[in-house]
């Protein structure tokens, strides 16, 4: 085995009371692709942020080509030749393609930039990623997402990176672009770069990786040459428990229809969605990021405009504001916990009570004491770990924050729950609790209806009764969960069947 280009050994990191990493080991050699897999919240992003110098570890050592590697800041990592290609692209949208590639590393005398040299370098970098046809002077934002990603890769190779880290590289790409990107990664590997790819899609991992390292709950729990591991073995290591245990399922009896959509379209997305959801039913929507799933939920809840089609949500026919939906028994959990779902600077209790303050009001007055009382019950019921209900929500772990977001729906006592990526970025324990809760709501009397959007296929297959796949804004037919498997969903989602 060739000596490692990059080694991370015994990396530890904690945030307040949460232990994010608890002794992680990772090695990658030149000319090798290492896949880093693990569930959301396993610590992958924390580990990569440490590698990229955005976080300082509490313990452990890192070496790069035999020398000590202790990046103090992202610019430090870049100088050492460690580059990240993020899931959310980090180009300066107003700058040109060329300016983005040489950004922070402009050549020139003194404070000036010698644009001719920069141009040449940018062009050479684009040629190396195989796309010298991208115009250098266009604004970065004007290029398609797939090209923006290549521009970012070009930026990394332009500064002579030795280690390239890809975070979910194909998550926002269509099938053809994804294939081209995987080819590029293989080519960069052949050039001798060390590559780390973080990915959820195990088929993809199998296609490009030489070795795999598996993280769970902040620890390295396994790994090795990809050919020595079966996909089932990898999943078992990732999840750490049997699938049946994670997804309880009590008998559910479908009742009246509480959500009925006919050819619903929004301003841009979705383009066409027809579905019905009944009480006592968990309905899943699968699809790629950007297919319009979130937009569909937002349109149902009145956060985005509905331009076409008929919809009936609970007791309300036609589009209605979120205010009316809350009052009529529909609740929504946003995929974006930090900026939309929750007010992190607010207390646990205030977040919980916001949609239905009227339930607490006496003569129009709401007292903090009433908020606290209402909250205390749900803290106990959902096992939300917090010092007090007055604690700032931002101080809680992601899983506990998410439980507060869901408790808000329970407090409002809704009949229809719209859940957008309800378990993204939270630990396995909280996930299991949320799955159990969904099952309880769907099988209780009176039963609730749940519409869930998720990118985690095992989760959809585990909790749902029926699933439909959304592809480029169009919602496909709903089928019983028994008729689906992960492969079939992916084929539909990527438009492979068409």
């Amino acid at each position: 085995m060739t000596p490692a280009r990059l080694s991370m050994h015994g990396i530890r990191k904690r945030f307040g009371a949460t232990i994010a990493l608890d002794g992680v080991d990772l090695h990658v050699a030149p000319g090798e692709v290492l896949a880093l897999v693990g569930e959301n919240g396993a610590g992958k992003s924390t580990l990569m942020r440490i590698l990229a110098g955005a976080l300082t570890p509490d313990g452990g050592t890192m070496t790069l080509d035999g020398g000590d590697y202790e990046p103090r800041a992202p610019v430090d990592a870049r100088r050492h030749g460690v580059a990240m290609i993020h899931q959310e692209l980090s180009l300066a949208p107003h700058l040109s393609v060329m300016e983005n590639i040489v950004l922070g590393d402009e050549l020139g005398p003194g404070p000036f930039v010698r644009w001719r040299d920069s141009r040449a370098r940018a062009a050479a970098a684009l040629a190396r990623v195989g796309r010298d046809d991208i115009p250098l002077d266009d604004a970065a934002a004007s290029r398609p997402i797939a090209e923006q990603q290549l521009i970012e890769i070009a930026r990394a190779v332009a500064v002579g990176s030795r280690v390239l880290v890809f975070d979910e590289p194909t998550s926002s790409l269509g099938a053809a672009d994804a294939r081209r990107l995987l080819d590029l990664i293989r080519r960069l590997r052949a050039e001798g770069l060390a590559i780390i790819a973080i990915s959820h899609v195990l088929e993809e991992v199998r296609a490009i990786a030489d070795r795999v390292t598996i993280l769970r709950d902040g620890r390295t729990v396994g790994g090795g040459a990809i050919d020595d591991l079966t996909t089932d073995q990898i999943i078992t290591l990732m999840v750490g428990r049997d699938v049946d245990e994670l997804y309880p399922r009590q008998p559910r009896t479908p009742g009246e229809v509480v959500l009925d959509l006919k050819e619903v379209a929004g301003e841009r997305l979705p383009r066409d969605a027809t579905l019905t959801v009944r009480r006592g039913e968990v309905f899943g929507i699968a699809g790629l990021v950007g297919a319009g799933r979130t937009e569909l939920l937002r349109a149902i809840f009145g956060l985005d405009a509905v331009t076409r089609g008929r919809l009936r949500v609970g007791r309300l026919t036609g589009p209605a504001s979120p205010t009316r939906h809350w009052a009529a028994g529909t609740g929504f959990v946003s995929e974006d916990r930090k900026t939309e779902g929750l007010a992190l600077s607010w207390s646990v209790a205030e977040n919980l009570c916001l949609p239905r303050l009227d339930r607490l009001a006496r003569l129009g007055l709401v007292t903090p004491a009433a908020e606290d009382r209402a909250m205390a019950r749900w803290v106990e019921r959902l096992g939300i770990r917090c010092a007090s209900v007055r604690q700032t929500l931002g101080a809680l772990s992601g899983g506990n924050q998410q439980k507060v977001a869901i408790a808000r729906l329970l407090f409002a006592d809704v009949d229809l729950l719209l859940l957008d990526e309800p378990t993204r970025g939270i630990d396995v324990g909280s996930k299991a609790q949320i799955y159990a809760l969904i099952d309880e709501l769907a099988s209780a009397d009176p039963a609730r209806a749940v519409l869930i959007v998720s990118s985690a296929l095992p989760e959809l297959l585990g909790v749902c009764d029926r699933i439909a796949v959304m592809t480029r804004g169009v919602l496909g037919p709903a089928r019983d969960v028994a008729a689906w498997d992960a492969h079939g969903i992916m084929v539909d989602a990527t438009g492979g069947a068409a």
Binding site: L303, S321, P322, T323, R324, H325, W326, A327, F332, S334, T339, E340, G341, L342, A343, L344, S345, W346, E350, N351, C353, L354, P355, L357, D358, A361, G364, L365, V366, T367, P368, A387, S388, R390, Q391, T392, G394, A395, R408
Partner: protein
């Protein structure tokens, strides 16, 4: 957490006690007399009343740079109404109403209803024209203006654009426009009504405290309680804390924002009555720079300019701190320029202290 919350509410109060004791020790006799306390409260009334409204706006993540101009406009409106022989109650309501209309215009612009703002302006012009040129009685003129504006608003609603504007920009524009309007209404001079009536006596010396000071303290109590105990109050904080979350949770963000500006700037209208009493005249050049004093009071009181935080109690204490420093320096015979430097330093220091405490809390 408990300690942090305590420090938050107590911090500005400790500051107030500190500066008061400091000047009491330095000055001795004349500073600690009740008559001086009464004077300081009276001097705080105008800025303090306006700052109560500004607190609402700042908690909701907005800002109002036009407070000074609104106060000047208010004094002119009160002066003109009294000069024309309207009863004092009509004059007082007119001053406050003018400010609330300004708030309505600012609010509709902030949420991006350009057509809505224009209809309000049209209604206001109609009201003024009916009253001043045609001699219609005030209530009739206001009624006609409101009906016309509402009708127009319903008409343009379908075509109205959604073009939200930053409150900083909207109120910067109003800062200039409202002062210009005040000057135009007052014909570039001052308005001296023959009888200033009880409106002119709001801040006059009284046995215990002037009526205006009671109004200021009462408004503080009511607003403070409303922020803490009403849904509207919780929604103000929610919008400032995270507007998207508020919308998601069914808060009618746009409507609430408009109300925040109407009520917040309505407070500036009440401040205008007190300023009128102070001047006994309507003066379009008065209250210059008050917008910054008002913001300073709110910020010293612990509010965050990025929204979501702040209390009325803090704001009142912030306004009092500024008055105590002014008054104390004057008693010591310290030059005005030194006072201005001290006040400036205090604003920065208060915010810096707040930052430090924040860092410790997280």
């Amino acid at each position: 957490m408990k300690v942090g919350a305590l420090a938050r509410s107590v911090g500005p109060l400790v500051g107030l006690i500190f500066v008061w004791v400091l000047f009491a020790v330095l000055n001795g006799g004349s500073f600690v007399q009740w008559s001086n306390q009464r004077l300081m409260l009276t001097q705080t009334a105008v800025v303090g009343t306006a700052a109560i409204g500004a607190t609402l706006i700042i908690i909701a993540g907005g800002i109002d740079l036009s407070v000074g101009s609104t106060i000047a406009l208010g004094t002119v409106v009160v002066g003109l109404l009294l000069d024309a022989g309207e009863p004092p109650l009509v004059a007082a309501l007119g001053g406050i109403g003018a400010a609330m209309v300004c708030g309505l215009i600012i609010g509709t612009l902030v949420i991006g209803r350009l057509g809505g703002a224009l209809t309000v302006i049209a209604g206001a012009i109609l009201t003024g024209w009916l009253w001043a040129r045609l001699g219609a009685p005030m209530p009739a003129a206001v009624g006609a203006g409101a009906v016309a504006a509402t009708g127009l608003a319903l008409l343009v609603r379908r075509f109205d654009a959604r073009l939200p504007l930053a409150p900083f920009i909207v109120t910067l524009g109003m800062w200039g426009a409202l002062r210009g309007l005040a000057k135009g209404l007052a014909d570039n001079g001052q308005v001296h009504p023959p009888d200033a009536t009880w409106v002119g006596g709001l801040l006059d010396r009284a046995t215990v405290l002037p009526t205006g000071v009671w109004m200021f303290l009462g408004l503080a109590l009511i607003t403070g309680a409303a922020l803490r105990y009403t849904r509207f109050g919780r929604h103000v904080y929610a919008i400032g804390s995270n507007e998207q979350t508020a919308r998601l949770c069914g808060v009618r963000v746009e409507r609430t924002k408009v109300w925040i500006y109407i009520l917040g700037i309505g407070c500036a209208g009440l401040a205008a009555l007190m300023q009128f009493s102070y001047l006994k005249a309507g003066d379009p050049t008065t209250a210059e720079g008050y917008e910054l004093k008002v913001i300073a009071a709110v910020v010293i009181g612990g509010a965050s300019l990025s929204g979501g935080e702040g209390t009325i109690r803090g704001t009142i204490i912030g306004a009092l701190i500024m008055t105590v420093v002014d008054s104390g320096c004057t008693h010591l015979g310290i030059d005005n320029w030194v006072q201005e430097i001290v006040t400036g330093a205090m604003i920065v220091a208060a915010v810096a202290l707040d930052r430090i405490r924040h860092r410790r809390a997280t």
